[in-house]
């Protein structure tokens, strides 16, 4: 790939320049964009191989895990994060939820003509920082440019590869009646932080997105309990905690009974949802996980999670039940019962 500036007549104008169709044409300008923006931010040995693909070593005897995720968030920047770090953390988390160690990331970008290069650089720098912080290098990538009006600034697809150690079996179909349901922290932070920035709402808030890579929290949890104690791990992203629990109930052919008062939620998030007529159970999270564990190991799991910076507010929120209808139910704060159903369509606000 060479030293950037020497290969080109003048460097990219990262202050006032914008993406144009030439950046995606595959010529010298494309190469310059890759060198001066992407390679500079992601730099690692695998990327420096300079091939169309990356040649990667994997630990012998382990099974591969692969996950992919597309990111189309608007606005691109929001309190506590941006589309860049989100696209790194989100895909790492999908791999980590199988109990795997994430090893490598790929990233592909669809850029909209007219996107300020400064914004692109900010997003890419944030991805580089997140990847370094997680210890998972971005080893290969691709960039395409679409005409103005055919994209929303930046779309990012990332893929993550990891490996899982022999004997560890974690999956959505493994929850059993009696198992304890744990959540690693407060719910709804990410969704409310993003909503607060939308044009039609714009309320002032101190709420920040919880975007974080959860693989070290998963490792701490797995170290604290016997090999088969953790049945299911899942990050409750789009659709929120309610939808994630329904997915698990369906896959495992069980029901669930939750305790509303036990579910951790920041007062600011609670208040914002109240004001907007939204239910925090359906609001996206980007740095939380649901762990379904053997009840015998629930307390050890909780202690291990709480000892980790990303699991301080971890809580036991309910138990898995026998239920041929796969209902996720909840005992409300006043002692009544209700179903916590799948999200239906977009979470639309109620009128009054």
């Amino acid at each position: 790939m060479g030293t950037p500036k020497r290969d080109y007549v003048r460097p990219l104008d990262l202050k006032t320049g914008r993406i144009d169709m030439n950046h995606g044409a595959g010529g010298r300008l494309s190469a310059q964009l890759i060198d001066e923006v992407f390679v500079r931010a992601f730099d690692n040995d695998f990327l420096r191989q300079g091939n169309d693909g990356a040649l990667l070593p994997i630990p012998p005897g382990e099974r591969l895990v692969m996950a992919t995720d597309a990111h189309v968030i608007f606005p691109l920047f929001f309190p506590g994060g941006d589309i860049g770090c989100l696209s790194v953390n989100g895909t790492i988390n999908d791999v980590a939820m199988l109990g795997a160690t994430p090893l490598y990331l790929s990233a592909s970008f669809i850029l909209e003509e007219g996107l300020p290069l400064a914004e692109l650089q900010r997003v890419v720098a944030s991805m580089g920082d997140a990847a370094r912080a997680a210890g998972v290098p971005i080893v290969t990538g691709d960039t395409k440019v679409v005409e103005r009006g055919k994209g929303d600034g930046i779309f990012i697809s990332t893929t993550c590869i990891g490996t899982v150690r022999p004997g560890l079996e974690i999956g959505g179909a493994r929850a059993r009646p009696g198992d304890a349901i744990l959540i690693s922290g407060t719910i709804g932070d990410h969704g409310v932080a993003v909503l607060s920035q939308r044009e039609s709402l714009e309320f002032e808030t101190t709420i920040e997105s919880d975007t974080a890579a959860l693989h070290t929290l998963v490792a701490a949890l797995l170290d604290a309990v016997p090999l088969d104690a953790v049945r299911v791990l899942r990050d409750p992203t789009r659709g929120g905690l309610a939808t994630t629990l329904n997915e698990i109930a369906k896959q495992s052919r069980v029901g669930m009974m939750l305790e509303e008062a036990a579910i951790p939620i920041l007062p600011q998030v609670d208040a914002a949802c109240e004001m907007l007529g939204l239910d925090p159970m359906y609001i996206a999270n980007e740095g939380k996980l649901v762990a379904i564990v053997d009840p015998e190991s629930a307390s050890a799991a909780l202690t291990a999670m709480r000892a980790h910076p990303l699991g301080r507010a971890a809580a036991l929120i309910g138990f898995v039940t026998h239920d041929s209808h796969r209902f996720v139910q909840m005992a409300s704060r006043i002692g009544g019962h209700r179903i916590v159903d799948w999200l239906s369509g977009e979470p639309l606000p109620r009128i009054c």
């Binding site: 009646p177 009696g178 039609s200 709402l201 029901g255 009974m257 008062a261 007062p267 609670d270 208040a271 109240e274 907007l276 138990f319 898995v320 039940t321 026998h322 239920d323 209808h325 209902f327 139910q329 005992a331 409300s332 704060r333 006043i334 002692g335 009544g336 019962h337 209700r338 179903i339 159903d341 239906s344 369509g345 639309l348 606000p349 109620r350 009128i351 009054c352």
Partner: protein
């Protein structure tokens, strides 16, 4: 959350529940209608039914703004967005209400119509200001709670000289609907719907006050207790209704004193009266034509009336033949008595309007309460 958590307190809820259980007369049944969708939602979401004695039944009323919106009105908005190229702004709940030809606003959006979800009519006004070359129409729906903001937006549009903003006014009135239910043959003549009293609206009453209900209480001998939208508000109101019934009283009582006064919000009422006037008649889904039950824009503000501006005509469209929304909105049937409920009609695939909003009787029962229809075995 302060001023909210206090009204969701578990220990207090159980105490009120115990009081209701002690004070009901076991030799009779009690049926109360909660008029508002907000109450229907609170009752379902918090499982209030679990804290009530078996001889006390809550009947869900028609006070869910999107539920009572007839297909014909949604069609008017759809045609404006699809055929006339307007930017149509409306509240989130309205987006999924089924209209003719299998359409809804959200489906029309996928067909290319410019439909925007807003939180306030003032947001629609802002869009009109920012897009001077476009016709921006606010599809205004709702009871007296959402009426003053619509009136305010129209006055603001006039003051700002906005020529590309208009309102498709579909606001409806609570007292007219309650009278209609009390006059209906099921309640009035055959007594197949035994209503012993009403949990009165919360937010609507903040605007109109408690005075408008005094007429029903006296004429129809039905107690009314105005209640807030928190679960403890609802439970306290039910206890107050039980006491009125037991004492043979039929009064308007106010549980929601922290927000509702006898005369309501005079400024909001004056603004509404300045901009809007009562329609001779209006079609409600489920209730049919109800006289003097809705509002239209006064002649003085005709420039902002989308019906006049685009020369729209209302065309009534019948609901799906098997859809029981009408009977459910009148309290004649329960959601589970509809053949479509939970089979072809679910919140993801609503056939009738009661399945759309979480304030609708069917959606509330499906989303929160359907486990009650089926015995569940715990672990």
């Amino acid at each position: 959350m302060k001023y909210v958590d206090e009204f969701r307190d578990g220990a207090l809820a159980r105490r009120i529940g115990d009081n209701i259980a002690t004070e009901v007369d076991p030799s009779r049944d009690y049926s109360f209608m909660e008029f508002c969708g907000g109450h229907t939602h609170a009752i379902a979401r918090y499982g209030v039914a679990d804290l009530l004695p078996p001889n006390l039944r809550m009947i869900h009323g028609p006070g869910c703004p999107v539920c009572v919106l007839p297909i014909g009105r949604v069609d008017m908005a759809l045609r404006l967005a699809l055929d006339r190229g307007v930017m149509l702004c409306t509240y989130g709940d309205v987006m999924r209400v089924p209209a003719s030809d299998g359409l809804s606003l959200i489906r029309a959006k996928a067909l290319g119509a410019d439909i925007r979800m807003v939180y306030s009519p003032l947001d629609a006004l802002k869009l009109a200001g920012a897009n001077p070359g476009r016709d921006v129409v606010f599809f205004a729906i709702g009871f007296e709670t959402t009426t003053p903001p619509t009136a305010l937006a129209i006055r603001q549009a006039e003051r700002d000289g906005l020529e590309n903003f208009s309102v498709l006014c579909s606001h409806v009135l609570t007292p007219a609907a309650i009278t209609h239910i009390l006059e209906s043959p099921e309640v009035h003549d055959f007594r197949t719907v035994p209503i012993d009293g009403f949990v009165g609206p919360a937010h609507v009453s903040i605007v109109i006050g408690s005075r408008p209900y005094e007429g029903f209480a006296a004429t129809y001998r039905k107690p009314v207790v105005i209640a807030g939208f928190e679960p403890l508000d609802v439970m306290q109101a039910i206890l107050m209704l039980v006491r009125q019934v037991n004492d043979g009283r039929a009064e308007v009582e106010n549980e929601f004193t922290r927000a509702v006064t006898r005369d309501g919000n005079a400024r909001a009422q004056a603004m509404t009266a300045d901009v809007l006037e009562v329609r001779e008649t209006f079609e409600w889904r489920g209730l049919g034509q109800v006289p003097a039950s809705a509002l239209m824009i006064r002649e003085r503000y005709a420039a902002f009336d989308a019906e006049k501006r685009f020369e729209l005509n209302y065309r009534a469209v019948a609901d799906h033949k098997q859809c029981e929304c009408g009977a459910i909105l009148r309290g004649v049937k329960r959601p589970t008595e509809c053949k479509l409920f939970g089979n072809v009609c679910t919140p993801d695939t609503p056939m009738g309007s009661c399945m759309v909003s979480s304030e609708g009787a069917c959606a509330a029962h499906y989303s929160y309460g359907r486990f009650r229809d089926i015995p569940v075995v715990a672990a």
